[in-house]
C-alpha cells in the first residue's frame, strides 16, 4: 500500500494516475480548469499547483503519484498564485456574467467566488471578437475563452475530428476552427461535447427557448412535445435531484402546466425504429448485402460518415432517427388525426443532444417544405424554461403521457444509453429469427461503458456479430479495422457521445461527467425493468399505427415517411483552386482533390490531365481547376467536365476524359459557327 502525506494527513492510494486524483480522493477539491480524467493531461491552468517537499511548486495533475511524497495544498504562496491566475483570467474575460448562458454553471465564476477575487487590477480585453452563431447547435464566444484547451482535446481525442485547435500564440492565442472560419463552414458534427467540457460560456448550446415559448403561447398552434429517452433520467439534476432518477411523470405535468398541448415519448418512435431497423437488418443479413449495417440514430455520427467515410453511406441504416420518425409521423399522420393542417402542428423535441438541432434542420426531413421537427430544446434549456415559470418541479405530482405516442416499451427507453439500440434490435431479431419468445431480455454483452464492445450471438444456428461503440474516435478506429478486413461484424451501433445519449451535450452540466453519465444509464436500464413490456414488437400503439397508416415494417409507405438517404458532404468550405486561367477558355474541367478522391489518386490524374491538355494544345480552351470536394466521394476520383460528371476515373480513363473535353470543345465550336 502506497501512502503520501497531504496537508499533514497520511493518505493511502493505489492506482491513481497522479497526485491530483489522490488529493481529490482525500476529500480536497483542488480546483482545475484543464484537467479531465477522460482527456490527456494538459497542465496549463496552474490552479492545481501544490508544494511538493524537496521539489517545490508543481501542478498536481502532472505529478505522478509516488509513495512517500509530502504535499501541501494550501500555503500562503499557493493561494497567492491561484488567486493571481484567476485575476489574470478574469481581466481577459468578457465579464457580462448576468447575461451569460453559463452563469451559475461557470467554473470561472465559481472559483472567483471561492477565492474571493473582488478586484481586477488590470485592463480589459483589447478587442472584442465576433461571436460565431452560425452553427445550428452551438455558439462560440471567443471573448469568454480561457484557453484551457478542453474543447480542443475532447474534439480531437474523443471524437477524433479536431474541428477546433489553438491558433496564434502568446497573448494573441485563440481557439478557433481552421482559418477562423465559422463553425457551419467546417467539419463540426455538432455533438457539442466541446460545450459540455467548456468551463465558461465560450462554447454554449444554441439557445432556442424563445422560439419554443412563442409557439406555446400561440393559441392557433397545437404544440406537440416529444421527450427523448435520456432526458427523463437527467432533467432532475437541474432541480437538485439525483442523476439517474426518472422524472418523466413530473415532466409531463410541468409541460402541461406550461401550456403544451400534447406530451409524447420519443421512445415510442424508438420502438418504431427498432421495427424498421431490425427488419432492414434481417433482410440485409439474409441477403448478405450492405453489411455491416451501421445505426443511424445519432446525427453526429451520420455527419461524420458523410464527411469522412462516404464510401460506407450505403451501410448506414436507411431509418430516420427516432426524433425524425416522430416528426414525420406527427406532421404526416397525427395532424390528419387531429383534423388540423400540418402547418398548425408544432413539433417540439426535448433532447439530450445538440446535434439534434442540426438534424431537425436537414433538408431530408421536411413535409411539404416545412421541417418535421420545428424546434429542438435540450434538457438544459427545458430546465431553464421550467425555472422561469417558477414551477416547483421536485414536488410535482406525476401524470401520464398522452396517447397514442406516449406509450413505449423498455426497448425504446434504453435507446438513450450506449448499447441500447443493439439490445433492442437483438430482442426483436432474436424472436423473429428463432420464432420463439425471448424470455431473458437482458443482453449483458452489449451493456457497459468500454469504448468498443464486441459480441457474437447465436440465432437459430447462425452467428450474428455485433459491435457497439461510443465516441467517434473509437468509431473511426473500428472502421479502419473493418475496412482493412481485420475485423468483421454484421451490425455496428455508433453513438458519438460518451455513454451514448445520456452523455449528450444538451444534458445538464455536470462536474463528474463519467459518473453522472453512468448513473443516467443505470436509470434507463432500471426504467426498462419497471416497464411492463421490453420489446418493441409488443408495443400495441406501434402495431396499431402500422395497421392504420403504413402496413408493415419496410413497406413503401414506411419508406416514404420513416426512411431516408444521406449523401457525402464537404469537410471544409472553400473555393475551387484555379490551375490555369485563359480568357478564351470554354470548357470548365474540375478534378476533385478532397480527401477521398485524393486517396484514390486524383492528384496524379490532375497532373496527367494537365500534361495531356498541354500536349494536345487545347490548353487555351480548357479551364482546369482543382475542387476541394465535389461531394461524390463514394464514386471518386471524380472529374467534372462542364456539367458532365465522370465518376471512378482511374488513370486508365484519362483518354475518356480527354475525349469528353474535346467533344465539348467541338460542340461549342459548332454552336459558335451557327
Amino acid at each position: 500500500m502506497n501512502t503520501m502525506i497531504i496537508d499533514g494527513r497520511r493518505i493511502s492510494f493505489e492506482q491513481e494516475a497522479n497526485v491530483l486524483q489522490v488529493i481529490r480522493g482525500a476529500g480536497i477539491d483542488l480546483p482545475t480548469f484543464c484537467y479531465h480524467s477522460e482527456l490527456s493531461v494538459y497542465g496549463a491552468c496552474r490552479m492545481c499547483i501544490v508544494d511538493v517537499a524537496g521539489r517545490g511548486i508543481q501542478a498536481a495533475c502532472h505529478t505522478p503519484a509516488e509513495d512517500g511524497l509530502e504535499i501541501k495544498t494550501n500555503t500562503a504562496k499557493l493561494r497567492r498564485i491561484r488567486k493571481m491566475a484567476l485575476e489574470l483570467l478574469l481581466a481577459n474575460h468578457d465579464r457580462d456574467c448576468t447575461t451569460c448562458d453559463r452563469s451559475g454553471s461557470c467554473k470561472l465564476q465559481d472559483l472567483a467566488q471561492r477565492f474571493g477575487v473582488r478586484d481586477i487590477r488590470f485592463g480589459q480585453r483589447d478587442v472584442k471578437a465576433p461571436i460565431d452563431a452560425s452553427s445550428a447547435a452551438l455558439v462560440r464566444d471567443p471573448n469568454k475563452c480561457i484557453l484551457c484547451g478542453d474543447c480542443v482535446r475532447i474534439c480531437r481525442e474523443v471524437q477524433g475530428i479536431g474541428v477546433l485547435d489553438f491558433s496564434h500564440r502568446g497573448s494573441k492565442m485563440t481557439v478557433s476552427p481552421a482559418f477562423n472560419k465559422e463553425l457551419h463552414d467546417v467539419e463540426c458534427v455538432n455533438c457539442g461535447q466541446c460545450a459540455a467540457v467548456c468551463p465558461t460560456g465560450a462554447l454554449t448550446v444554441k439557445n432556442e427557448i424563445a422560439r419554443a415559448w412563442q409557439a406555446i403561447h400561440d393559441e392557433s398552434i397545437t404544440v406537440v412535445v416529444q421527450i427523448a429517452p435520456a432526458v427523463r433520467v437527467s432533467l432532475g439534476e437541474s432541480f437538485g435531484l439525483e442523476s439517474g432518477k426518472s422524472v418523466m411523470g413530473q415532466l409531463s405535468t410541468a409541460l402541461k402546466q406550461m401550456g403544451v398541448d400534447k406530451v409524447f415519448d420519443t421512445s415510442f418512435a424508438a420502438d418504431l425504429t427498432v421495427m424498421e431497423e431490425s427488419s432492414e437488418f434481417l433482410q440485409r443479413f439474409q441477403s448478405g448485402t450492405d453489411l455491416p449495417q451501421f445505426t443511424s440514430c445519432c446525427p453526429a455520427w451520420v455527419k461524420f460518415v458523410e464527411q469522412y467515410h462516404p464510401d460506407i453511406l450505403g451501410n448506414l441504416s436507411s431509418c430516420r432517427s427516432p426524433q425524425q420518425m416522430f416528426g414525420s409521423l406527427a406532421k404526416k399522420y397525427y395532424a390528419q388525426e387531429l383534423g388540423i393542417p400540418a402547418e398548425k402542428l408544432f413539433v417540439m423535441s426535448i433532447m439530450p443532444c445538440t446535434a439534434k438541432k442540426f438534424e431537425a434542420g436537414r433538408e431530408e426531413f421536411q413535409t411539404e417544405g416545412r421541417p418535421d421537427v420545428d424546434v429542438v430544446i435540450t434538457t438544459q434549456e427545458l430546465g431553464r424554461m421550467i425555472e422561469e415559470t417558477g414551477i416547483d418541479f421536485a414536488h410535482l405530482e406525476p401524470t401520464s403521457l398522452d396517447m397514442p405516442f406516449g406509450f413505449a416499451t423498455g426497448a425504446g427507453v434504453i435507446f438513450g444509453v450506449t448499447g441500447g439500440v443493439s439490445e433492442a434490435v437483438l430482442r426483436f431479431a432474436h424472436e423473429t429469427v428463432t420464432g420463439q419468445e425471448l424470455e431473458h431480455v437482458v443482453f449483458q454483452e452489449v451493456r457497459g461503458y468500454e469504448g468498443v464492445k464486441k459480441a457474437s450471438f447465436d440465432m437459430a444456428g447462425t452467428t450474428v456479430r455485433i459491435a457497439v461503440v461510443h465516441g467517434l474516435a473509437h468509431a473511426a478506429e473500428l472502421l479502419k479495422a473493418v475496412k482493412a478486413g481485420k475485423e468483421a461484424f454484421d451490425f455496428i451501433e455508433v453513438m458519438a457521445c460518451p455513454g451514448g445519449c445520456v452523455g449528450g451535450a444538451g444534458q445538464p452540466i455536470s462536474a463528474q461527467m463519467t459518473a453522472s453519465n453512468q448513473n443516467r444509464g443505470s436509470g434507463l436500464y432500471k426504467e426498462d425493468q419497471l416497464l411492463q413490456m421490453h420489446k418493441a414488437q409488443q408495443n400495441p400503439m406501434v402495431n396499431s399505427f402500422y395497421q392504420k397508416w403504413i402496413e408493415e415494417p419496410g413497406s413503401e409507405a414506411a419508406h416514404l415517411s420513416l426512411h431516408t438517404r444521406y449523401g457525402s458532404r464537404k469537410r471544409i468550405q472553400g473555393e475551387a483552386y484555379e490551375l490555369s486561367q485563359q480568357p478564351e477558355a470554354s470548357v470548365d474541367v474540375q478534378v476533385c482533390v478532397g480527401t477521398s478522391c485524393y486517396l484514390k489518386g486524383s492528384v496524379e490524374l490532375l497532373k496527367n490531365l494537365k500534361y495531356q491538355v498541354g500536349k494536345d494544345e487545347i490548353d487555351e480552351q480548357v479551364k482546369l481547376r482543382a475542387a476541394f470536394c465535389c461531394q461524390q466521394c463514394a464514386e471518386g476520383p471524380m472529374v467534372l467536365v462542364d456539367d458532365t460528371v465522370m465518376n471512378r476515373v482511374g488513370a486508365d480513363r484519362l483518354p475518356e476524359v480527354m475525349h469528353e473535353i474535346k467533344d465539348k470543345i467541338a460542340k461549342q465550336r459548332q454552336m459558335l459557327r451557327r
Partner: protein, 626 residues
C-alpha cells in the same frame, strides 16, 4: 571513407604537414557579420590579387603530398570581433587585418612576400592608440580561452579536412574505442553543465537516458538560439559545424542512440547550409552512417529547421516542433531523457555544450576541469554587445568577473560614458549593476543575485540606457514569444508589459511597482515551463537593483536616462536653428514644420518623441525641455 581510428590519425598528420608546407594561409571571415560588411568581395579580390602575383592558390586544405608551397585562401567562420569586420587573418603568423576592403587585397598579398604587415589595416586600440600585429596579442583575444570557439575563424567550416587537421574526430575515435558507460562517466566527472540555460549537468541527463531500455533513442542538438543578444551557437554552427557533429556522435554512442537531430533556428540560414554540407561530408568520409571508423557503431543525423519561435528552445516545445506540432511545452514528468521525441528517450543538449564534448574526450577530464571554477568547470562563451567598446563573441574560463569581461576584454564603455548595468542571460536573465562588477561569472554566483548565465548574452548599458525601458523591452519580447499555453505566463507577461508600458509612457503610479512584483513572483513560481518561470527575471532584478529609477518614473514623472518618450518633450531652440530642414525630413510623423533658413518648430501634439530629430540635427538645436 575513413575505416579506422589509425587511418584518421594518419590523415590528420598528412593534412597538418600539408598546411605547414604552404607559404601562407589566408582566412577571410565569412560569418554573417563580416559577410554583411562585404567580406565575400574581399575574398574574391584576394584571390584575384594572388593570381596576379602568380602565387599558386588553393581554396581548400592540402595533404602533405599535394602541397605546392603556395597560399591557401579560404573563407572561415566567425572570428568574433564582428564590429571590426571584414576580418582577414594571415597564418602561420596569426596577423589580423581589420575593416578590410577589396582595394586592400593587393597590399595584403604584397605583404606576404616582404613580411611587413599592412599597418593601416592592423587593429589600433581606441584608447591607447597601440597597434597590434597578431590577433592573439589584441586585448579582446588575449584574455580569452577558446575551446568551443577554438576553430571558429581558424578553419574553413566547409572543409572537413581542415577540421580533421585540427584533431577533429579524435575525441569520437577515443570514445568509440571504450565502453559507452565509460564515456557517460567521463562527461559526468567533467561536470560539464548545460551551456544553454539552467546549467543542468549534461552527464546526469546522459546517464538517465543511457539507463533506460528502448528500441530507439535520440540525440537532439538544440540550436534554437533565440535569446536576443546571443549568437555563440550560430557562430559555432557556421564556423565549426563538425565539432557539433562529433559531439553528437559521442553523445549518441554514450546513450545508445542511432539517430540525431540538429534543430536550427529559422533565422540562421547560413548555419543550416553549413551544417547540411558538413553532414554530407561526414557521411562521405565515413564519420556518420553505418559502422563508423570500423567500430560497428552506426549513427545518422538530420538537420531540422525551426520556424521562428523562441519557446522552441525549451526542450519539450522543441520536441513538439520536430514532431510537427505547435511548439508548446509539455508537462514534465515524463522528462525527455525518459520519454521525449516520439516518446523515446531523448537527450537534448545545447550547441555549446556539445561543442565541449570532443575536447573532453580527446584531452581528458583533468584538462577540462583545469579551467573554470570547481562547481562550474570549463569555459563559457559570451556575446558581448551593447554600449561596450569591443563588441563581439568571446570565450573565457568560468569565474572571470564581470569587470574582466567588460573592461579588460570589452575595452570599457563606448564614448567614455559611465557604466550603468549589464543585462545577462537574455530574457531569462537579469540586470546587474556596478556593485556586481566583481561578481564571478558562473552558474551559481549569478543565480544567487537573481540572474542566470542563460546562453551567455551580455548586453552592456551606459548611463543613456533607461532600465525601465529595457525591462519593458524584455516583457514585450516574452509576451510575444510566450507560447500562450499556461495562464500565468500568457496573461502575466502581457499584464507586466502593460504596466511597464504605462510607466514609460508617464502614466505609472507608485502602486504599479508592487503589482509588478506580485505578478512577477506568481509567474516565476507557477508557470509551466522554464521560459515562463524565468520571464519575470529582467523585471524583478531591475526592481531590486534600480528601484530609484523606477520611482523617478512613477513618482517624479522623470526618466533619468532621458529615454522614455512619454516623459520628455522636444523643442527647437530658435537661436541655434539654421533652418536646414533636416529635422523635418527625418521626422516619421511630420510633426516638424518651418520655412527653410528660418527656425523650425515642433508640433508637440503630433510629436511621438522618437528622437530622430535630435540625432539628425548637426547644430544641437533640438533640445529636450521639461
Amino acid at each position: 571513407m575513413i575505416q579506422s581510428p589509425a587511418e584518421l590519425q594518419n590523415l590528420r598528420d598528412r593534412y597538418a604537414k600539408g598546411m605547414a608546407q604552404q607559404k601562407a594561409g589566408i582566412l577571410v571571415c565569412a560569418g554573417t557579420g563580416c559577410v554583411a560588411s562585404g567580406s565575400l568581395e574581399v575574398h574574391a579580390a584576394l584571390e584575384h590579387a594572388l593570381k596576379e602575383q602568380g602565387l599558386h592558390t588553393s581554396v581548400q586544405l592540402l595533404l602533405e603530398e599535394e602541397s605546392t608551397g603556395g597560399v591557401t585562401a579560404v573563407k572561415s567562420g566567425c572570428h568574433g570581433f564582428c564590429e571590426m569586420g571584414p576580418l582577414v587573418r594571415i597564418d602561420p603568423e596569426g596577423v589580423l587585418y581589420t575593416k578590410v576592403k577589396p582595394v586592400d587585397a593587393a597590399d595584403i598579398v604584397a605583404a606576404l612576400d616582404n613580411g611587413e604587415p599592412v599597418e593601416r589595416l592592423l587593429y589600433r586600440h581606441p584608447a591607447t592608440q597601440q597597434v597590434f600585429v597578431k590577433e592573439s596579442d589584441i586585448p579582446f583575444y588575449k584574455h580569452q580561452t577558446r575551446v568551443a570557439l577554438a576553430n571558429c575563424g581558424h578553419i574553413d567550416p566547409n572543409d572537413i579536412a581542415a577540421y580533421i587537421a585540427k584533431d577533429g574526430y579524435q575525441g569520437a575515435a577515443n570514445a568509440l574505442s571504450r565502453p559507452p558507460q565509460d564515456v557517460v562517466d567521463n562527461v559526468l566527472e567533467a561536470n560539464l553543465r548545460g551551456r544553454g540555460g539552467g546549467g543542468f549537468p549534461a552527464g546526469r541527463k546522459w546517464s538517465i537516458a543511457a539507463s533506460v531500455d528502448a528500441d530507439q533513442k535520440y540525440i537532439i542538438c538544440n540550436g534554437d538560439e533565440g535569446d536576443p543578444g546571443a549568437f555563440m551557437d550560430r557562430s559555432v554552427m557556421e564556423g565549426d559545424p563538425h565539432r557539433i557533429i562529433e559531439g553528437m556522435l559521442i553523445a549518441g554512442y554514450a546513450i545508445g542512440a542511432s539517430q540525431g537531430y540538429i534543430y536550427v533556428r529559422a533565422e540562421y540560414p547560413l548555419a543550416v547550409e553549413r551544417l547540411r554540407q558538413a553532414l554530407s561530408d561526414a557521411e562521405a568520409w565515413g564519420l556518420l552512417g553505418d559502422n563508423i571508423l570500423g567500430t560497428g557503431f552506426s549513427f545518422a543525423l538530420h538537420v531540422k529547421e525551426g520556424a521562428g519561435a523562441f519557446v522552441c528552445g525549451e526542450e519539450s516545445a522543441l520536441i513538439a516542433s520536430i514532431e510537427g506540432e505547435r511548439g508548446m511545452p509539455r508537462p514534465k514528468p515524463p522528462f525527455p531523457a525518459v520519454a521525449g521525441l516520439w516518446n523515446k528517450p531523448t537527450i537534448i543538449n545545447n550547441v555549446e555544450t556539445l561543442a565541449n564534448v570532443p575536447d573532453i574526450l580527446r584531452r581528458g577530464v583533468d584538462w577540462f576541469k583545469n579551467s573554470g571554477t570547481p562547481s562550474s568547470p570549463g569555459t563559457k562563451t559570451f556575446a558581448l554587445t551593447g554600449e561596450v567598446a569591443n563588441t563581439g563573441l568571446i570565450e573565457v574560463p568560468m569565474g572571470l568577473t564581470v569587470r574582466d569581461v567588460v573592461y579588460t576584454i570589452g575595452g570599457g564603455i563606448r564614448k567614455q560614458m559611465a557604466f550603468k548595468a549589464v543585462q545577462i542571460g537574455g530574457p531569462s536573465g537579469g540586470c546587474l549593476t556596478e556593485e556586481h562588477l566583481d561578481l564571478p561569472l558562473d552558474y551559481d554566483s549569478l543565480q544567487q543575485v537573481g540572474a542566470m548565465i542563460g546562453s551567455g548574452g551580455l548586453v552592456v548599458m551606459n548611463e543613456e540606457t533607461c532600465i525601465v525601458e529595457v525591462a519593458r523591452f524584455f516583457m514585450e519580447f516574452t509576451q510575444n514569444e510566450s507560447c500562450g499555453k499556461c495562464v500565468l505566463c500568457r496573461e502575466g507577461t502581457r499584464r507586466m508589459k502593460e504596466i511597464l508600458q504605462r510607466i514609460v509612457d508617464g502614466q505609472g503610479a507608485e502602486s504599479d511597482l508592487g503589482l509588478l512584483e506580485e505578478v512577477g513572483e506568481s509567474v516565476q513560481a507557477g508557470s509551466l515551463c522554464g521560459l515562463g518561470k524565468t520571464a519575470p527575471n529582467p523585471v524583478l532584478t531591475t526592481l531590486q537593483y534600480f528601484e530609484e529609477e523606477y520611482l523617478a518614473h512613477v513618482r517624479d514623472k522623470r526618466c533619468p536616462a532621458g529615454v522614455c518618450p512619454g516623459l520628455k518633450t522636444f523643442a527647437i531652440a530658435a537661436e541655434d536653428c539654421v533652418g536646414c530642414s533636416k529635422c523635418a525630413r527625418v521626422c516619421p510623423v511630420d510633426a516638424i514644420s518651418g520655412k527653410v533658413k528660418e527656425p523650425f518648430v515642433i508640433d508637440r501634439e503630433a510629436c511621438i518623441k522618437c528622437g530622430a530629430c535630435v540625432d539628425a540635427c548637426k547644430f544641437g538645436a533640438v533640445v529636450e525641455v521639461a
